[in-house]
């Protein structure tokens, strides 16, 4: 097999070396970003789970006090703010990168939508009268 001779100019070698180092740095940056994203995602997931436990006890199982509902709203808004950020950030990773973390973009989006659902259920602009009328329409019709 004929030997292929490669010739490099000093300038091209220098440029290639710099490109190689730059790529290495980019890889490190990407890994760091992915690690930071993963850590934030898992902490958020844990916070959502704890929030759901307290919500079940304080809001669903019993008639919530005004303070319970206030705290519920504050927590929901805070979790949603982080969720929106994570959902947007997840788009910057490849599906393979996310799979390596055990998640996918749709999963994160679904978590966010579920939190939005809770907001619609408990922190809406409907009056008590509107709610009662709706309940009578729903449950009264089944009587």
């Amino acid at each position: 097999m004929p030997e292929i001779q490669q010739t490099f100019t000093d300038a091209s070698v220098t440029q290639a070396e710099w490109e190689w180092v730059k790529d290495l740095i980019e890889d490190v940056k990407k890994d760091s970003q992915r690690d930071a994203f993963a850590q934030r995602l898992f902490q958020w997931d844990l916070a959502v789970k704890q929030f759901r436990k307290v919500e079940l006890k304080r809001v669903l199982q019993d008639r919530p006090s005004e303070m319970d509902l206030d705290r519920h709203a504050v927590c929901l808004h805070a979790l949603l703010a982080i969720g929106f950020s994570l959902r947007a950030q997840s788009k910057t990773f490849t599906p393979e990168n996310l799979t390596a973390l055990g998640v996918d973009h749709q999963q994160i989006a679904a978590y966010v939508i579920e939190l939005e659902q809770s907001l619609r259920e408990w922190h809406h602009g409907f009056s008590e009268t509107e709610l009662k009328q709706a309940q009578e329409k729903i449950f009264g019709a089944a009587a």
């Binding site: 759901r52 996918d104 679904a110 659902q117 259920e121 809406h124 409907f126 709706a134 329409k137 009587a143």
Partner: protein, 76 residues
């Protein structure tokens, strides 16, 4: 208070969405949306008013169905 089937169905879909594993969230979200659309059609209410009106009934339904634990099987 009697509960129409479409609300029981909506609660069931919400329960599955809430307690499923993360990997199944997107699938159960789709099921929930279908149940909500059906409930909206049958009640003639907007989806947001419907969700707000039945939010408190969800736990009552859970108690009546005796469902304190997350579903163990996919697609309960």
């Amino acid at each position: 208070m009697p509960r129409p089937d479409y609300i029981a169905n909506l609660h069931g879909a919400k329960y599955d969405l809430r307690f499923c594993s993360g990997a199944d969230k997107a699938k159960f979200l789709s099921v929930y949306r279908t149940a909500l659309e059906e409930a909206q059609k049958k009640s003639g209410l907007s989806s947001s008013l419907l969700e707000a009106a039945v939010a408190r009934d969800f736990f009552e339904w859970m108690k009546q169905e005796r469902l304190p634990k997350p579903p163990q099987k996919e697609g309960k």
